[in-house]
């Protein structure tokens, strides 16, 4: 099978803050082959290409949408085995969010099979149709229906074939558990028997996903149930092979020379006569310097030797202390530059603020620090060249994009590159790019052997793109009845997701302005929704306080009936908000927040405990979440719990601190992420709406946590903290 032409029917609009998807590749390799490659026995001076040592953009890479929906023939989607097992091919990846199990359920549902009769081949560009990358919570709303439609069409073909063989009308047949049975005679055929029919392959080949009917949610047999993770056994035995576990015969281990500071460029590198470099393949190609050696330890020692000899130019770099001034100063109002300013105004817009007396006006600036995804498996790739054909195993949410990056970096036709994404050790929006794949491929090309490259934790913290920092200015006013009269909200740099005001306000404006980012930034779970919800929901609480209103009542009074109001009401009831808000104590506070993103709805109530001299502690998070018809309740619960706990990190402690171009927080000992002891009591309410289409759930459950905590802290202490993280030093 080969990759084939894509038909774009639903172009996916990229949010502004997916900066990494618009960025150029990190490397431009030298097409003139002046690049230096050597297996060293002796020292050597390198002068070649020094003039072009700085990072150059990788020109000409084609842009692609995040999601493609195309006309496919069913034999590219399914293989029906003689053992009655159906193999499903998809470019989607599994990074812990549960897509492998969920897509298995989707196929099983419409093929009327138990989940264990489905096998998924995911994210192999040589085998799988391109269903787009795995991002934006799109698997549930876009790819589950896509697989279901294809499976339903395949089921109809199987039914027709069985009817023909049994010489009955298809409407006479029952299809379930891989049996096609004639209701009147009891005669039946198994899926395995049908699979051996010569006609089946050409029938599937000629058919596209048709209009076969899909089961309604209230009829679901496999969807809607807590099918256990299909590969759980491999995960608990250590048999699962993550990208960093891939091994090839004769494989070497790579390492790349990193700059000592952000923005630094290599001025000179004289290869020293160091025994650590003996027998090591050294590659220098423009800005890229790396090694390949017999094991990771030797590769690291070789890089240390090169690092000691390298001379760098270190230009000035803004520090995290001056970050928000820098963002405001460099904000772009240029409508032609990307990302463009996005301004939405209604009523009299910002002008309405001026008519309100100062005591009913709020002016509050909120900040959100850069944070890292820190997936437990750092970026990793194994690259192998065979006769000019490149195969790379790597952890990425975007196999197709990585494929394009490799093809561009090595000037290879598309059919000479194959990208395979084994189930990957975490991602959270952080693995959309292919830099590690390109690096591994460059080393493998030089070494003439497969090369495994895994970034260190320090590299992952320092050089991976991070969640954008942001400055958010809120200007708002109340009318004399204590209702929101005007709303003005400006986000500098962090992004536009979740910027819309869900509350009723007669006049207002929201705007997003891009700025110069000192760090490489891009997508993160829920994108800028966390930042925008933090600022908005904090400001709403500040307005409620100004109006002397209960924050719940204030919100409800400004919300129309609907799904957001429903989750807010549900969480307040579960948490017994009204009672607990009234019963406030000096050492305890409660707070709430709500929001919507990507078609799902979330509300959270939080209790914090504040001891004099001690760090505030989040004791309870109660959260209600609604994402349409629930497809796998157990997995949904885990996604919601995981998002809440991950959100505690960004809310309370996580931040990237940097000065003079050096990151001071490049390890887990200096960058505190949530641990088991940090987990509060979790009370989760999952609202099931079988009457509504299912949407994704991996992102939105993170967005209400930080503002709810900020509001609870303000409730407990009377002091409003307007920066994320809220308690960076722990107190």
């Amino acid at each position: 099978m080969s990759r084939h032409t894509l038909t774009l029917t639903t172009p996916y609009v990229l949010e502004a803050e997916r900066y990494e998807l618009r960025a150029d590749g990190l490397y431009r390799f030298d097409p003139d082959r002046r690049a230096f490659v050597q297996v060293l026995g002796a020292s050597l001076v390198i002068a070649a290409s020094a003039a072009t040592a700085s990072a150059q953009p990788n020109g000409g890479r084609r842009r692609r949408g995040d999601e493609q929906s195309r006309t496919e023939s069913l034999d590219q989607r399914f293989h029906i085995g003689a053992d009655g097992v159906v193999t499903v091919f998809t470019s989607k990846v599994e990074v812990g969010q549960g897509s492998r199990t969920q897509l298995t359920q989707a196929a099983a549902e419409e093929l009327r099979l138990p989940a264990d009769r489905i096998r998924l081949v995911m994210a192999d560009t040589a085998l799988c149709p391109d269903d787009g990358g795995t991002a934006g919570s799109r698997t549930t709303p876009a790819n589950v229906p896509q697989i279901r439609r294809a499976a339903a069409a395949a089921r109809e073909i199987l039914l027709a074939l069985a009817a023909q063989r049994l010489q009955v009308d298809p409407s006479q047949l029952d299809c379930r558990e891989g049996l096609f049975a004639d209701r009147s005679s009891g005669k039946q055929l198994t899926l395995a028997e049908l699979a051996q029919n010569d006609a089946l392959k050409s029938l599937l080949q000629d058919a596209a996903s048709g209009e076969a009917s899909l089961a309604d949610a209230d009829q679901w047999k496999v969807l809607g149930t807590s099918v256990p993770q299909v590969n759980a056994r491999d995960l608990v035995t250590g048999a699962a092979r993550f990208p960093s576990d891939v091994s090839r015969p004769g494989m070497l281990y790579g390492k790349v020379l990193r700059a000592p500071t952000y923005n630094a460029t290599l001025q000179s590198l004289e290869i020293p006569a160091d025994p650590a470099l003996s027998g090591v393949t050294i590659v220098r190609d423009n800005s890229f310097v790396g090694v390949a050696a017999g094991n990771s330890w030797l590769a690291a020692a070789a890089i240390d030797a090169l690092a000691a000899a390298a001379k760098w130019d270190n230009p000035p770099h803004p520090s995290s202390d001056e970050l928000f001034t820098h963002l405001k100063k460099t904000a772009s109002h240029d409508g032609d530059a990307w990302p463009r300013p996005r301004v939405d105004a209604w009523g009299d817009g910002a002008q309405a603020l001026d008519s309100v007396p100062p005591e009913r006006r709020l002016a509050a600036d909120y900040t959100v620090a850069y944070i890292q995804h820190a997936p437990l498996e750092p970026r990793a790739a194994v690259a192998q060249w065979n006769d000019g054909q490149l195969t790379v195993w790597t952890g990425s949410q975007q196999p197709s994009r990585v494929h394009s990056e490799l093809s561009a970096a090595f000037q290879l036709p598309a059919d000479r590159v194959r990208v395979i994404v084994p189930d990957t050790g975490g991602s959270f929006g952080g693995k959309h790019t292919g830099e590690v794949a390109v690096e591994a491929a460059r080393l493998a090309k030089a070494a003439g052997k497969p090369v495994s490259l895994r970034w260190s934790r320090e590299e992952e913290f320092t050089w991976a793109y991070c969640r954008p920092a942001g400055l958010i200015e809120v200007r708002a006013a109340l009318d004399d009845a204590g209702r929101i009269a005007a709303w003005d909200f400006t986000n500098y740099n962090s992004g536009e997701s979740g910027i819309r005001l869900p509350y009723d306000a007669p006049h207002g404006r929201t705007q997003f302005l891009a700025a110069d980012s000192p760090l490489r930034q891009g997508s993160y779970r829920a994108l800028a929704s966390t930042a925008n919800n933090f600022a908005r929901e904090s400001a709403i609480d500040e307005l409620a306080a100004m109006a002397a209103a209960d924050p719940l009542a204030f919100r409800l009074a400004h919300l129309a009936d609907g799904r957001l109001k429903d989750v807010l009401t549900a969480v307040a009831e579960k948490f017994t908000w009204t009672e607990r808000y009234a019963r406030r104590a000096a050492d305890r506070g409660v707070g709430l927040a709500c929001g919507t993103e990507k078609g799902s709805f979330v509300a959270a109530c939080v209790e914090v405990e504040v001891q004099p001299g001690g760090a505030p502690r989040v004791t309870t998070v109660c959260q209600a979440f609604e994402c349409g018809a629930i497809q796998n309740p157990a997995n949904l619960r885990r996604q919601v719990e995981g998002a809440i706990i991950m959100g505690l990190g960004g809310a309370l402690t996580e931040q990237m601190v940097f000065k003079d171009g050096r990151l001071a927080t490049a390890s887990f000992s200096k960058y505190a992420v949530p641990r088991m002891a940090d987990v509060p009591q979790l009370d989760i309410v999952l609202l099931n709406r079988p009457d509504l289409p299912s949407v994704g759930a991996g992102e939105t459950p993170i967005i209400a946590v930080a503002p709810a905590i900020a509001n609870a802290l303000a409730n407990a202490t009377g002091r409003r903290i307007r920066s994320m993280p809220l308690i960076p030093g722990g107190s």
Partner: protein, 154 residues
């Protein structure tokens, strides 16, 4: 200097030619093909590389292979008997205690060490023993539930 080191891994004697200063984790993964233990941080902060040395949970990324000579090394691959899962592995499956699963071998090995030492730990004791094992998917509630189940009287 590379030397021949005699190791005992999952009950078997194996000899490897390796520099004694290399991390045990690298030797397990790169020389012995035992990739169950994972790299997560290289500084003993995340627990992904956890293996047992003479029954105690250690971070193999900050343990040199020379230090493991003469000790019994247990990895996730050595747990369970034939096709039968170890009770903790089964509990992790039953409680959905994996999201991406990358941390899971380390989580299980830390929990094995805990339960061998203390068959009926309290919740606080479990949390104290497991606090060095990061799960970035933050699936801690399911991991805790799995360990509590494995530690409960049957």
């Amino acid at each position: 200097m590379t030397q021949q080191l005699k190791l005992k891994v999952n009950g078997r004697d194996v000899a490897v030619d390796a520099h004694g200063e290399r991390p045990l984790l690298d030797v397990l993964r790169e020389d012995l093909g035992l990739t169950g233990a994972k790299y997560g941080c290289g500084e003993g902060q995340c627990g992904a590389c956890t293996v047992l040395l003479d029954g105690a949970a250690v971070r193999s990324c900050v343990t040199t292979v020379a230090d493991a000579v003469g000790m019994s090394i247990e990895t996730i691959e050595g747990l369970g008997e034939g096709d039968a899962l170890h009770p903790l592995q089964q509990a992790f499956v039953d409680h959905g205690a994996a999201q991406c699963g990358y941390c899971v071998p380390g989580q299980i090995m830390s929990a094995v060490a805990l339960l061998r030492e203390n068959a009926r730990p309290s919740r606080a004791e479990i949390i104290a023993a497991m606090n060095g094992n990061l799960c970035r998917c933050c699936n801690y509630p399911s991991i805790l539930a799995a360990i509590e189940h494995a530690a409960s009287p049957k």
